[in-house]
């Protein structure tokens, strides 16, 4: 469904991505691994139209969206949960969810979306009249994911959903990722916790300084000595 073809992205003179290619199929969960600054977030930002690739193409169902504005990309069914959550701090939880449904016009669909969000994260129903800024880190992450789902995307770009969360909440977030996957939504997951990411995804890509240096099914990546050492914190060779 999503095809990234050899994109370059530069911030001023600094090159962030060089010839990055990847693909995510309909309903597939794919993870993007790499150290800080490897270009994972930049890849997601390029897909959702927040930064423009200097070269290469990004296709969704064969449609070129390399130059499409970010709002049009959302309308095509790609929703991005950005690094740092980027909530609307002065909006209530409910207003954050409603603005997530900006592109959906039927009242009925919006109401169903709210119900779905509340089913997925019951805590958001309890907190619905509270300002987003007053939520805990875990609740904010849940709200960010729920807000993106309000657009009813076919593909979700998730940037470090477990960052800074307590282990119990990390488990909770990954349970929800599985649930979202089960509803047929494709996921491109950027995650520092490589073990969990490879557990949730069927395939993965490894980025190093803006280039893809490895790719393959999760099971294969898990056994790769370099990945074991660099991202899983294990000895080079599998036992």
């Amino acid at each position: 469904m999503l095809e990234v073809e050899a994109i370059d992205v530069a911030y001023g003179k600094r090159r962030a991505l060089e010839g990055v290619s990847l693909s995510v199929g309909e309903g597939e969960v794919v993870t993007l691994l790499g150290a800080n600054g490897a270009g994972k977030s930049t890849t997601l930002r390029a897909i959702s139209g927040l930064v423009r690739p200097g070269r290469g193409r990004i296709l969704c169902d064969g449609r070129d969206l390399t130059r499409a504005p970010a709002d049009a990309i959302v309308a095509l069914g790609i929703a991005h949960v950005p690094e740092g959550r980027e909530l609307f701090p002065d909006f209530t939880v409910e207003e954050n969810l409603l603005v997530g449904a900006h592109r959906r016009w039927q009242r009925e669909a919006v109401r169903e979306g709210l119900e779905r969000a509340h089913r997925l994260f019951p805590i958001l129903r309890e907190r619905r009249r509270q300002r987003a800024a007053t939520l805990s880190g875990g609740e904010q992450q849940m709200l960010a994911i729920a807000r993106a789902l309000m657009a009813r995307p076919r593909m979700l770009l998730l940037d470090e959903p477990s960052l800074g969360l307590a282990p119990r909440l990390v488990t909770e977030i990954f349970r929800v990722i599985d649930e979202i996957h089960a509803t047929g939504v494709g996921i491109l997951l950027v995650e520092q916790n490589a073990r969990l990411a490879l557990g949730a995804a069927t395939r993965g890509y490894v980025l190093e300084t803006g280039r893809v240096v490895a790719e393959g099914p999760s099971a294969v990546l898990r056994e790769d000595p370099r990945i074991r050492q660099a991202y899983l914190g294990l000895a080079g060779t599998p036992p």
Partner: protein
């Protein structure tokens, strides 16, 4: 001071205060969306008010002339935003500030060329027979200005609170990146904010013109609107309204207790006072910058 005199001063203070509030609101609407202050706002409503004046002189009925002014205000805002402001998107806020300041001078000169810099009486439409409020007798135009402003402010409040477009504007004000990711077209929100602000300004111009005479100098009202916005904490909409009313009342009250000449310094004294005592404004939060 007698009660009658006090009521009189309060009502006329609230009337001018409403105008300051509306002008302040138009500044804040653009500021919240785009983080720039549009100093051309004053001259923009000078132009639209002159459009109404010309239309009325050409024999149009007053409501139609007002509609022409509102449409002219919207078109002018759209043209300025699309043709000039959007092209300077990479400029700093300071640069855009200077651009709007320059625009205000250009618009004033153009208005002067078309309509001259003379004072013109603007048709009054609220009637002249004083209305009794308790012991005081008040001119209807003051009450009309207050009433119309309050209605417009309530409409704006409802727009921002309850509509999809209003929510999109508030979203852009808080976090532009996130707004993009929600599928909001940020440039379209910028245009909408400029148009809305210009229409609010146009209404302020149409309300005040019968009281002060219509002239290109009327654009200077933007300064008091700016001060109303600062008093309110630049960004808070209820804050601007309260700031405007406060400014209007104090401005009308001060000459009664202090030397009359103080009147025109009142806004600036208030501005300095609020910035020293409460830099975040009455309703605002303070973002301290380290020096």
């Amino acid at each position: 001071m007698t009660t009658a005199a006090l009521i009189h001063v309060l009502v006329s203070g609230l009337a001018t205060g409403s105008i300051y509030g509306l002008v302040g609101l138009s500044l804040v609407i653009v500021y919240n969306a785009t983080r720039t202050v549009n100093f051309a706002q004053g001259e923009m409503f000078v132009v639209s008010t002159f459009v109404a004046w010309s239309a009325a002189r050409a024999g149009w009925p007053l409501p139609l002339a007002f509609l022409a002014a509102v449409v002219a205000a919207a078109v002018l805002a759209l043209v300025i935003e699309r043709a000039i402001i959007r092209r300077s998107i990479a400029a700093t806020h300071w640069d855009v500030l200077i651009i709007t300041l320059g625009l205000s001078l250009i618009l004033r000169a153009l208005a002067g060329i078309v309509w001259s810099h003379d004072d013109f009486p603007f048709p009054s439409y609220f009637g002249n027979r004083p209305i009794a409020i308790g012991p005081a007798r008040v001119v209807p135009v003051s009450l009309g200005i207050i009433g119309a402003s309050v209605v417009l402010m309530a409409l704006l409040g409802a727009l921002f609170r309850f509509t999809r477009a209003g929510r999109a504007m508030r979203a852009v004000a808080q976090n532009q990146t996130a707004a993009w990711l929600m599928g909001i077209s940020v440039p379209r929100v910028f245009s909408a904010a400029w148009i809305l602000a210009s229409v609010v300004g146009a209404v302020a111009g149409l309300l005040i013109a019968p009281v002060v005479f219509l002239s290109t100098k009327m654009g200077l009202l933007v300064i008091n609107g700016f001060i109303a916005a600062v008093l309110g904490g630049f960004g808070s909409m209820p804050g601007v309204v309260v700031g405007g009313m406060l400014l209007g009342v104090i401005e009308n009250l001060a000459p009664l207790y202090l030397p009359t000449g103080i009147r025109y310094s009142v806004p600036f004294i208030l501005l300095i006072a609020i910035l020293v005592v409460r830099p975040g404004g009455l309703a605002g939060r303070v973002h301290r910058r380290k020096v």
